[in-house]
Every structure is written in C-alpha cells, then in structure tokens.
Amino acid sequence: TKGCSSLEPDGSDHTVTLIPGDGIGPEISTAVMKIFEAAKAPIRWEERNVTAIKGPGGRWMIPPDAKESMDRSKIGLKGPLKTPIAAGHPSMNLLLRKTFDLYANVRPCVSIEGYKTPYTDVNLVTIRENTEGEYSGIEHVIVDGVVQSIKLITENASRRIAEYAFEYARNNQRSSVTAVHKANIMRMSDGLFLRKCREVAENYKDVKFTEMYLDTVCLNMVQDPTQFDVLVMPNLYGDILSDLCAGLIGGLGVTPSGNIGANGVAIFESVHGTAPDIAGLDLANPTALLLSAVMMLRHMGLHDYGNKIQTACFDTIRDKKVLTKDLGGNSKCSEFTADICRRVQDLD
C-alpha cells in the first residue's frame, strides 16, 4: 500500500504513535502536540517508550506495547533517541528499522526563507535505501591487519527503493528522479542497483530518469543545488548525501525526515541528537520535529493542516522575533511554540 494508510472511515481522529525520545525529546514533542492542538488537527497521540528489552530467546526487541501501537496506527512520530554505549543492545534506531522493515529514508530539503545559509532555493528530496548496502554490518578480519567489510546489494531491495522513489515523485508532483551510483568502480553491485532503477523507470514514463556518479553529484550539489530534484541511492551514499543536503539548508536542527516501511508503516523523526546539555531548560528548537510532523500529515493526505502549520512555522522564523538560540535568537522554546500556535490560529 502506498500513500496514506490510516484514514479512519468514520472521520474520527487518526491515531499516531508518539515516541518522545530522550534529552530534549519530551519538550519538543510537547511543543508539537501544542501546535497540533492549536491547528485543531485530527490527530490522537499515543505515547510509547521504545527502550529495548530482552525478549524470549534472549533477543533484544522493542517493548510489545510500542510494537502493538505502531502496528495498529501505522504512523509514528519519533524524537531523538540516546545512543547506548555498553548497554549491551544495538542502537534503538537499528532495532526500529529491523522491526518494521523501514526500507526507505526520505529527507526533503527545502531552503527555509528567513534562515539564511549560503545556499538559497534548495528544493530536493533524498531517498536512501535503508536496509542493506554498506551498512549490512558484515565484517571479518581475514588475517591480522587485513579487514574486509561486505557491501550487499540485492535485486529486491533495489527494485523496492526505486519503485518507492518513482511513486513519491509521482505523488508529490516532482519532475525527475536521479539515481546516484558509482558503477564505474563497483561494476556489479552499483550496476545491479542501476539496472533495477532503469527497469522501474520504464513503468513511470511521466517522470524523467537520469543517472549520475556520486562524485559528480557532490561536485554539482555544492555549486548549484537547484539542478537536483529527487535523488535515489544505496545506503552509504544516501547517508552522506542526505547530511550534505541538510547542511545546505541549515543543519539537522531544521531538517525533517521520514522512514517508510513495508506493510504501510511510516515513522517520521527528527534526526538531530538528544542535546543533553540543554535538556529540560526550555531552550530546544522544535522545528525539525515539527517539519517531520508536517511531512507526516502530508503522507496521511491531510495537506491542508500540513500547509497551515508549515506556513506558521516559516512565518515565525522569517519574522525573527522569537527565535531559539540555534536559529540566532535568544527566546525560549515555549515562546517560539506559542508564536507558532498564535499564527496557526490566525490562519484559520
């Protein structure tokens, strides 16, 4: 199933699983909930905690009530999670990815008018394959001093991500999809990825398909990012390019992100850290989580609410009167949130 998937037929509120996260997570989640309330968005939040627990058989898993809530609502909004060091279990993000088979990571990067960066008019989307590639985690020591890491590319995963990319382009009125690769060096693996993209492109003749080497994309991206539209690529290149594009518009504090899984599951998240040094001090910037929530509304087909909240947010930033510290001001998170709530109500 593509597109939105949790429309309640009787018109009641849509349920969304909310994972506040750690550090500044709870306060920015509260900010987002307040803004949604001011916008009267038909969303019912179900808060859950995803700290890993050891399940039967000794395998780490997310708590069953969190999984049950996600399976039912199909849509999730997640704040930043603490990376465990020596906790004995893998990263929470990895666990979530495996549990819900989140195969596509989507990051729309749009220049925020009012938050000046050297790059203006950026309007592109990076779609990254999120399950295999260089991050399979398969490494061996062959002999002492020689290490081998395996990059895995499969036909199925490549086809799936290519199909998602073209569907996204079609559903969001984007005109072209560019596959990013290094098939001149990694002939078989990136060659397979490229072949699958080409095959899927045949079924989407209304969307223009181009291919470009990773190095050429990087070179052109920092000189003229306006030439790019939708980019689809394997895991590692996606990791690097999506962060590069986030840097173009102002960093992780203002970049939304969404993870699409099989069975219609979608989890939208802010990709910045937990910022433990400012946690609980009402100084955090909720923009990233808010824009991810807007992405979520659009995914669910609630474009009006999404546009309203996004306009209010951008107007507040453009006005420059109540900006948080990382955006260049010295207001509190609650003041920033209140301003957006006021604008949302005025827009009604």
Partner: protein, 392 residues
C-alpha cells in the same frame, strides 16, 4: 614510533612460522622501509639526454586530449626541458594491452601526466576501470589535493585552505565483487593495517613539511567498526609520533555537513578511498569547480599528475570552453616534482595573474573566455616577465 610498529607488523606477516629464522632478512627489509619512510623528498627520476626529462603523457578521453595539448603548448613556449612520450589508451577495447603499455611507459619514465580514461559500464564487469588499474598497478597510494580559495573566483565560501590526502589503492575500490546467489551481489571493501599506516604517515609528514597545524581523519567507524576502526586506530598510532600536530577525527556525514557550512575549520584531512572521493569533490566544488584544482597521485617510485576531480567532461569536449587551469596547474605540480621549480613558478604565477588580476575566466567560473584565450594570456604573461621563450 610509527616506523617501528610498521616494521613489527611487517615481520608478523612475513614470518608467522619461521620465528627468528628470517629475522635478519626482516631487519634489513625493515631498515629499508624505515629509511624510505624518513625520506621527506623523493628523488625525481634523473634527467637524461642533455638535461631533458621524459614524461609519459596519457591523453585519455573527453577534454583530456585538448587540455594536454595546451599544456604541451605552454611548456614548449616556455622552453621547459621536458619531452612527452604519448601513450594512447582506447577505452572502447576490452583487452588490457593499452593500459599495460601505459603502465610500462610510466615505469620507464617515473612520472606521468594524464587525462581521465572513460569507463563504459555497458561493458562486462570483468573490464575494470582503467584509471583504477593504473593506480593499483603502480601502487600510487596517496592522492593529494590542495583546495584553496582563489581571490579572482567568486564562491559562496571564502578563505578555504584544505589539503586532502586520500588512500588511493584499496578500500571500496578493490574491485572484488561476486554474485553468489542470483540477485544478490557482494562487494568487498578491504582495509589493511599496512596501507592505513602508510597513508597516515604520508599525511602527517606532508602536514609537517608544509607547516600545517591539524590533521583530521574522516571515517565511519561507528557503523563499520572493524574496517574504519582499523583505519582510525592506525591514524592515532601515527599521530602519537607527531606531537606538534593536532589530530582529531570526524564522521563522514558530519564532515560533509560541516564542509558546506563552515569549511574554514578544516586544515589537513586524511581518509580512505571512497570518502576521499566524496570529500575531494565537495571541496573542489566549494572553491570554484572541477576546472580549477589539480591533483597528484604519489607512490613510492612513481608519480602521476591529473586534474583533482578526474572528470572526462565529454559534454564540453572540443568546444574550446573547458577550463585549462586544473590541467596546467597539474603540469606545474609535475615540474615541481622534477625539481624544475623556476619553470613551475613562472607558469603558476602567469595562471594566477590571468585568473585574479586580468579576470579572464572560462564559462565554468562565470566568464566568457575561451580555453585558447586563457592559454594565450598565460603565455603572454610568461613572455612579459623576460624569460627565454620560443616563438609565439
């Protein structure tokens, strides 16, 4: 000390079974290694035949041939004592005869100047990238690129001065791929202790030579714990032998984000092959594009010079609009390597005067000049400085 640990690891690999038997051989081998490591300047190949050097020239595809013709034109005009031995490599052929001839020529002459050879990926996977083959056969383990903001070129960021040292032979470019099950392809990324130590050593030595303060290692060791973890560990070991230089590390995705917002924070960067590809292209884009930055590939015995971003530029070939700066500056790097410093400086100054004072720019940096106009200007400036030149 880094050299000692290198000797130890070599001995561990060479004599796992023979214990002390090969000890003497290893000691001799080890000292040769150490003495090579301590040499700051490689001796250039001797000038034969009346003080003239012979350099292999590989035209390549796309804009390569025309730009290298311009380099030859400028060299001939400035009476540079270099003769070029031209070796053509046909990228459309499946046999490796052409590239092997080129490699033999470089072994003979010791130095080469090349354009990029296209890799057609419609060919079967057994036909490997010719450029890669050249680099690995000659063991050109260090790719060095110096990105500097030029006053005459308008860019979004100013005051950039970054040296990028990229491991050039292994990592993701090992070309080891197989398809065990139909539809599932595995590609191997190899990181070895030897090569990581070698490149780290090169980076720190170069940093010290050029008086740079900080070396940053770029990696993804949080995900590739063994592979990039080994690379990072080797860098740390080498760093301990250079207490005057600060060493830090940064994850590659954060690095690209920092590069597009605050590139002035970086000094010298060292990294494995693929991240080097990404970072060097980002930096080249930041200072003005692929037409401006030269690159060098150094091995123990050979050196090959080319443009830093290795573009074929097929779409602008033979149109007289390509920017000759990168290739000309690569030629100057080559002259410095051959210890022909006066010629190198005079050509380099002429290029910078054309770019920064005369502001004669080609289309890629926002101007309307043609390639030949830029080259003529360079030659005119060299002549005006009063040096010996051939007829115009």
């Amino acid at each position: 000390m880094a050299a000692h640990s290198a000797v130890l690891s070599v001995s561990k690999i060479i004599n796992p079974f023979w214990g002390g038997r090969l000890g003497n051989t290893v000691k001799v081998f080890g000292t040769t290694l150490t003495s090579h490591r301590n040499k700051t300047q490689r001796a250039p190949p001797p000038a034969k035949y009346g003080g003239r050097h012979t350099v292999t020239l590989i035209p390549g595809d796309g804009i390569g041939p025309e730009l290298l013709n311009h380099v030859r034109e400028v060299f001939r005009f400035s009476c540079v004592p270099v003769d070029f031995e031209v070796v053509h490599v046909n990228s459309a052929l499946e046999t490796e005869e052409d590239i092997n001839n080129a490699i033999t020529a470089i072994r003979r002459n010791g130095v080469a100047l090349k354009g990029n050879i296209e890799t057609k990926h419609t060919m079967p996977p057994s036909v490997k990238s010719r450029n890669n083959l050249l680099r690995t056969s000659l063991d050109l383990y260090a790719n060095v690129m110096h990105c500097q903001s030029l006053p005459g070129v308008q860019t979004r960021h100013q005051n950039i001065d970054i040296m990028i040292i990229r491991e050039n032979t292994e990592g993701e470019y090992s070309s080891l791929e197989h398809e065990n099950v139909p539809g599932v392809v595995e590609s191997l990324k190899i990181i070895t202790r030897n090569n990581s130590l070698r490149i780290a050593e090169y980076a720190f030595r170069l940093a010290r030579e050029k008086g740079r303060r900080r070396v940053t290692a770029v990696h993804k060791a949080n995900i590739m714990k063994l592979g990039d973890g080994l690379f990072l560990q080797c860098c740390r070991e080498v760093a301990s032998g250079y207490p005057d230089i600060t060493f830090d590390s940064m994850i590659v995705d954060n690095t690209t984000m920092q590069l597009v917002s605050k590139p002035q924070q970086f000094d010298v960067m060292v990294m494995p092959n693929l991240y080097g590809n990404v970072v060097s292209n980002v930096c080249a884009g930041l200072v003005g594009g692929p037409g401006l930055v030269p690159g060098a590939n150094y091995g123990r015995d050979y050196a090959v010079f080319e443009t830093a971003t290795r573009n074929t530029g097929k779409s602008i070939a033979d149109k007289n609009i390509a920017n000759p700066t990168a290739m000309l500056l690569a030629g100057c790097m080559m002259l410095d390597h051959l210890k022909l410093h006066d010629h190198a400086s005079s050509i380099r100054n002429a290029i910078f005067t054309t770019m920064n004072e005369n502001r004669l720019h080609t289309a890629d940096i926002g101007g309307q000049g043609t390639t030949s106009e830029v080259v003529q200007s360079v030659m005119r400036i060299i002549q005006s400085k009063g040096q010996l030149t051939a007829e115009f």
